[in-house]
């Protein structure tokens, strides 16, 4: 089933994030051993660099560089498990399954930078594991909206302001009037740091896995030639997979128990990176891609989210729905975002319904919106829409003529989308499918 991650290879050579059998301290110690004493910032950054660690929240900024930029600041350190994108469930899974790794990463970091305050921010359900592990750890409850996971919004929430992104001319790690220097790292990034610190001390191969969330739409039902599509990809369900950090989309899907080559043969596409993501067509998935070749997107695997859209689900319809969600995600502060995203959603919606608009008009609107918010939300939305136009140009053209190749009876079919705006479900609703 799984050609690229031989179980014993993964077990012997590099430590795994979800190796502990349960969230207890005993299971954690049995799986990972004691944490070597904390050291200096340089040593920690070196361990992160050795593991090739880049932020796991989606932006993918090299962690070592982020750490070294903190020299001499003693910032507020925040573990970010806000996970506002409903295509993602891996942070909640990690916090439930491996709270100790996250806490260790947080402590290593706090000691290395001389920070006196650490905070774990996540939705209340996702904090249960952390609170059980260490009742003394300061926690901050996220409400699960998309935008509040943005780093400056997280800092705002933790320092007693509204959980909204803010304009910052200086990096968050530097003091700006009214704001303490802060460091925000995704919870998975911190957990990998705790593993990398161990392997660096032991001279062992660094951690090499990451967590992926796999979900699907239109790939769950039994197909005419047999029930090969697992019910795991029924709409609304998400699977968290631990697999090689450099895996291709096909490899991650295979690790999730899906037959990637058959999915590709049926014309399924994969949205990589959630609401701010990009599309891989069937051919790119079959060709071993994770990111679009030549794409300028810095996001790469974008938080490890893979959403498979089967050929029976109309992608144009899904894109229009998501454009609407993205408009509603706006934190309502910046004009080009407040007015631009609804205009974009209306334009895509009209295209999808065949009631006007053109890709050219949409692209013009994209140009007027991109890069003009206090946070990257408009850029992420524009990136997603541009990728959608590139991937489904023909389908958009069909729709513009009132047709649709996914289902001919366009308009009266049941909507089977993910609950796009719902809260992130707990791990019980997802489930964990490990490769070992």
């Amino acid at each position: 089933m799984n050609r690229h991650l031989e179980p014993q290879q993964a077990r012997d050579e590099s430590p795994r994030l979800l190796a502990a059998a349960d969230p207890s301290w005993g299971a954690h110690l049995a799986a990972h051993g004691e944490l070597p004493p904390a050291g200096g910032l340089e040593a920690l950054a070196a361990a992160a660099a050795a593991a090739g660690l880049a932020g796991r929240g989606g932006a993918g900024f090299p962690t070592a560089r982020k750490l070294l930029s903190l020299r001499g600041t003693a910032p507020l350190v925040i573990a970010n498990g806000s996970e506002g994108d409903s295509f993602s469930a891996k942070d909640a899974m990690l916090l439930a399954r491996a709270p100790w790794l996250v806490l260790e990463g947080l402590r290593l970091l706090a000691e290395a930078v001389g920070s006196r305050r650490t905070v774990v921010r996540a939705p209340a359900e996702a904090l249960a594991g952390i609170r059980a592990a260490d009742p003394g750890q300061e926690c901050s409850e996220a409400t699960g909206t998309f935008i509040e996971g943005e780093a400056s919004a997280v800092v705002a929430a933790v320092t007693g302001r509204a959980a909204l992104p803010s304009f910052h001319a200086l990096p968050l790690s530097q003091t700006q009037p009214g704001r303490p220097p802060a460091l925000v790292l995704n919870v998975e990034t911190l957990a990998v740091l705790a593993l990398a610190w161990r392997t660096a001390a032991r001279g062992a191969p660094p951690p090499s896995t990451r967590l992926y969330t796999v979900s699907g739409d239109g790939v769950g039902g039994p197909l005419p030639d047999g029930a090969w599509g697992p019910s795991a990809l029924a709409p609304g369900q998400r699977w968290v997979i631990e697999a090689d950090a450099g895996a291709s989309a096909a490899e991650v899907l295979e690790a999730a128990g899906l037959d990637a080559s058959r999915l590709a043969a049926t014309g399924a596409s994969v949205l990589v990176g959630g609401r701010h993501g990009h599309w891989l067509g069937a051919e790119q998935v079959a060709g071993g891609a994770m990111r679009v070749a030549g794409s300028a997107s810095p996001r790469g695997t974008g938080g490890g989210m893979l959403h498979v859209v089967g050929a029976e689900r109309c992608p144009v319809d899904l894109v229009a729905e998501l454009a609407q969600v993205l408009a509603e995600d706006s934190a309502g502060q910046c004009g080009p975002c407040v007015f631009g995203l609804p205009a974009l959603a209306a334009s895509v919606g009209a295209l999808a319904r065949g009631s006007g608009g053109s890709p050219h008009e949409l692209e013009e609107l994209c140009q007027r919106v991109a890069g003009r918010g206090a946070c990257h939300h408009p850029d992420g939305a524009v990136g997603f829409l541009r990728s959608s136009l590139a991937a489904f140009g023909e389908e958009f053209a069909l729709h513009a003529r009132g047709s649709c190749s996914a289902l001919h009876a366009h308009g009266d079919r049941a909507r089977r989308g993910l609950a796009l705006t719902g809260p992130v479900p707990g791990p019980a609703q997802g489930g964990n499918r490990e490769v070992a």
Binding site: C334, G335, Q367, R368
Partner: protein
């Protein structure tokens, strides 16, 4: 190098800045200011060329919500 940055989360689209800094600073269809770069793209950052600093300071002073900031160019966070 100095640049003028627009805090879009504060801006209320009164347009004073684009009056002072026209034509370098234009306004979009919703009235919000934008600097147009070489590729024709609207942005929230306007790198200042020689002789523009005075007008930029004036715009920053006039903005009713203090949404304009003159900064040295710093690497992004």
């Amino acid at each position: 190098m100095q640049e003028l940055r627009i805090d879009m989360s504060a801006c209320v689209a009164r347009g004073l800045c684009s009056e002072v800094l026209a034509p370098r600073l234009g306004r979009d269809e919703w009235g919000y200011p934008w600097a147009v770069d070489e590729s024709g793209r609207g942005t929230t950052r306007m790198p200042l060329v020689a002789g523009e600093e005075r007008a930029a300071r004036e715009a920053a002073r006039l903005c009713p919500v203090r949404a304009l900031l003159l900064t040295r160019v710093t690497p992004a966070a």
